[in-house]
């Protein structure tokens, strides 16, 4: 399939399905969609020749023929079964999107403080159009990113959160995205927006989960704005199906003294890309980026992160870990740009990888671009195997080989999981991570 074909096949079916896209009556939405659509046509799918895309091969997505996901009627029980496995357990505020579209009856909103809005993007367009218009598309720019362009042209739904000045939301908000067998081989362009006003506080947990094992594609763009002195914690739990593809573009914009934290846990998907950008736009802003990818089989996951220290006295700390089994491939790029006037920047970064098989691969690259002179920057990257001494130590106490490997791997991964400030999410993740270890592979090696 030629490049032009891969581009058209991602425009035409979506054009055909565009008659019920939200925002058709809002000129700014229509214009933005049209411009982004043209931009995607011009850019086409990125190739690995681009520096940023060196470790993400999008060709399995580009060449696939996915129909537009439009929500719909999932098979009986599929949603319930999936929900029962997820972390919130009724304690969080919850929005559930099935095959890209909100399912209203599944929404749980406990007593929300006055002025707080938690709703779908479709609802937000009519209920808080000004907030949406002021922010949507302001941080996730589509001019230079074809995947964002595609998302901007064809988004159908997503979550919008608006927390007014001074309000602290105690319960986390959980946005669950389920892919069900009813939608089959489909592509969803999901668009989220979090606007946290001055001195406000909010936690958002995105959970990506599959109720079937077939191929599909989720293309997500999430924009997060933290106004002065606001605090936003954003967790992404990505446990898509084995044959699924997932590209998540998350853009954080932090203003004076704002604090943003991001936790990205990837266990699912055949092809995954977590593309995160943090703009520390005003003095005193800080960000924390933690990530964990646990891969096996033929999975590929690329974590591409950029922290833009655009202002003085900002702080960033980044800690990503990978556990790679089978013939999987995990990648990490930690780009940090310290602009010329961003004096007294404090930036630290670390990436550590555990290779559980000889055939697993890891690519890790720190990219520091420092144009200021008064900065404190550190970075480090390692990759290695399980500690043989530790393995023998555990086995000498009667713990079998497989279990010993699980315990050590879990210990390695748990450092990132432990950093997630939301208990039920931690409790959910530990067993998920353990399950990802290939028992078959271990048996072969153990014998």
């Amino acid at each position: 399939m030629s490049l032009t074909q891969t581009t058209t096949s991602w425009i035409e079916p979506f054009d055909t399905a565009a008659d019920d896209l939200p925002g058709r009556e809002l000129p700014w939405v229509v214009e933005m969609r049209a411009a982004a659509r043209d931009r995607f046509r011009t850019l086409g799918w990125p190739t690995r020749r681009f520096e940023e895309w060196r470790y993400t091969d999008v060709s399995p997505i580009a060449r696939a023929a996915f129909s537009p996901a439009r929500g719909g009627a999932p098979a009986r029980g599929e949603v319930e079964t999936a929900l029962a496995r997820l972390p919130g357990g009724g304690k969080f505020h919850r929005l559930v999107f099935v095959d890209g579209v909100l399912v209203r009856p599944l929404t749980i909103l406990h007593d929300l403080p006055a002025g707080v809005r938690v709703l779908s993007l479709v609802e937000a367009l009519t209920e808080i159009p000004d907030v949406v218009q002021a922010h949507l598309g302001q941080y996730a720019l589509y001019e230079s990113n074809a995947v964002t362009a595609l998302n901007t042209a064809f988004w159908r739904d997503g979550v919008v959160i608006h927390v007014p000045r001074g309000v602290a939301l105690e319960r986390p908000i959980e946005a669950i995205y389920l892919a069900t067998s009813g939608a089959g081989a489909s592509a969803a362009h999901v668009r989220n927006l979090v606007v946290c006003e001055e001195s406000a506080r909010v936690d958002l947990v995105e959970v990506w989960h599959a109720a079937h094992a077939g191929a599909y594609f989720n293309n997500v763009t999430t924009e997060v704005v933290a106004a002065p002195n606001a605090s936003v914690r954003h967790v992404r739990v990505q446990e898509e199906g084995k044959s699924a593809h997932h590209i998540g573009n998350t853009r954080f914009h932090a203003r004076r003294d704002a604090r943003v934290s991001s936790f990205v846990i990837t266990t699912g998907g055949a092809t995954s890309r977590n593309d995160l950008e943090f703009t520390l736009a005003e003095p005193g802003a800080s960000c924390e980026l933690n990530g964990l990818y646990v891969l096996n089989g033929r999975q590929k996951a690329d974590n591409y992160t950029l922290v833009d220290h655009a202002s003085p006295q900002c702080k960033s700390s980044e800690f990503y870990k990978g556990v790679l089994d089978g013939v999987s491939e995990g990648s990490f790029t930690g780009r940090v740009v310290v602009r010329q006037d961003a004096q007294q920047t404090d930036a630290e970064q670390s990436n550590r990888n555990l290779l559980l098989s000889d055939d697993a691969r890891v690519n890790t690259r720190p990219q520091l671009e420092i144009y200021a002179d008064d900065v404190k920057c550190s970075h480090g990257a390692t990759s290695g195997q399980l500690d043989r001494h530790a393995l023998f130590y555990l086995r000498s106490r009667g713990i079998d080989h497989i279990r010993a490997r699980q315990i050590l791997t879990r210990a390695f991964a748990s450092e990132i999981i432990a950093s997630i400030p939301i208990g039920p999410v931690r409790d959910h993740l530990l067993p998920v991570v353990e399950d990802r270890l290939c028992p078959g592979h271990l048996l072969e090696e153990g014998s």
């Binding site: 500690d387 530790a390 130590y393 555990l394 086995r395 106490r397 009667g398 713990i399 079998d400 210990a411």
Partner: protein, 251 residues
């Protein structure tokens, strides 16, 4: 209980054990002494099943069966315990979790029921107290940041929890202060019984004042060069190993 015959083991191309013969009966305590690098830890680890040492010749039978083909965990389940000369630090795994996994793995493999959380904690607290160990060590990562002596005590705590039939203690006394030495010796002596055996590797006759051995062996250059009763340890303390090495090369 344990019978080692003409045991040869090597690592890569270096032969370290060059024909070890040793027999320990149930109820006995044996001590192995010997110069640095003579192969004491290698012997201990080969008995416990460390795979990086390749056994090229000889047999190790335990309770009448050959154990050389068994995985380390299978040996542990049969009741063999190794107290490490250099206990390993395991960040991210608490002592409690580690011990519970080990104990329940052994119980399950033997067809016994697992201990539930309460039963386990009660037992663990009692044993830790016996070891004069602050309970806060139980919630810390295994050996991580423990002092040398604390690590050794932690080995004995594990032994006390697992109640092995054959305990091999590799320099468990090194790095212990006098009080800790007494506690550790007490722990070992508690384990002594007619159906158990203990093999201690040590450089110091001092330990043997507390754990009185039935037999003392001297390992030199991968072979048992001399065996005797507890008086041999005193003699070594006084004269060093030179005379034994001479006897060996002379013979």
């Amino acid at each position: 209980m344990l019978k080692i015959t003409d045991l040869h083991a090597r690592i890569d191309d270096t032969e370290i054990l060059k024909g070890v013969d040793l027999e320990i009966g149930a109820g006995q305590v044996h001590a192995i002494m010997g110069p640095n690098g003579s192969g004491k830890s290698t012997l201990a680890q080969v008995i416990a099943g460390r795979e990086r040492f390749e056994v090229t010749q000889g047999t190790v039978t335990y309770e009448g069966g050959n154990i050389l083909e068994l995985a380390p965990e299978e040996r542990a389940i049969k009741g063999i315990f190794l107290g490490f000369q250099y206990p390993v630090e395991i960040p991210g795994v608490t002592n409690k979790y580690f011990l519970k996994s080990a104990l329940n793995a052994q119980r399950t493999a033997r067809g016994e029921t697992e201990l539930d959380a309460m039963e386990f904690l009660t037992l663990l607290r009692a044993r830790a107290e016996l070891m004069d160990m602050d309970p806060k060590f139980l919630d810390r990562s295994v050996n991580q940041g423990f002092s040398g002596g604390e690590k050794k005590k932690n080995e004995i705590l594990q032994m006390a929890m697992l109640e092995p039939k054959l305990a091999i203690l590799d320099e468990t006394d090194s790095g212990l202060d006098i009080d800790a030495l007494k506690v550790v010796a007490g722990g070992v002596n508690t384990l002594r019984s007619p159906d158990r055996a203990i093999l201690v590797v040590t450089h110091y006759q001092r330990l043997l004042d507390y754990i009185v051995p039935d037999c003392v062996h001297v390992l030199c250059d991968g072979q048992i060069a001399k065996s005797g009763d507890k008086k041999l340890a005193l003699e070594l303390e006084e004269k060093g190993y030179g005379w034994i090495e001479k006897e060996m090369t002379g013979a």
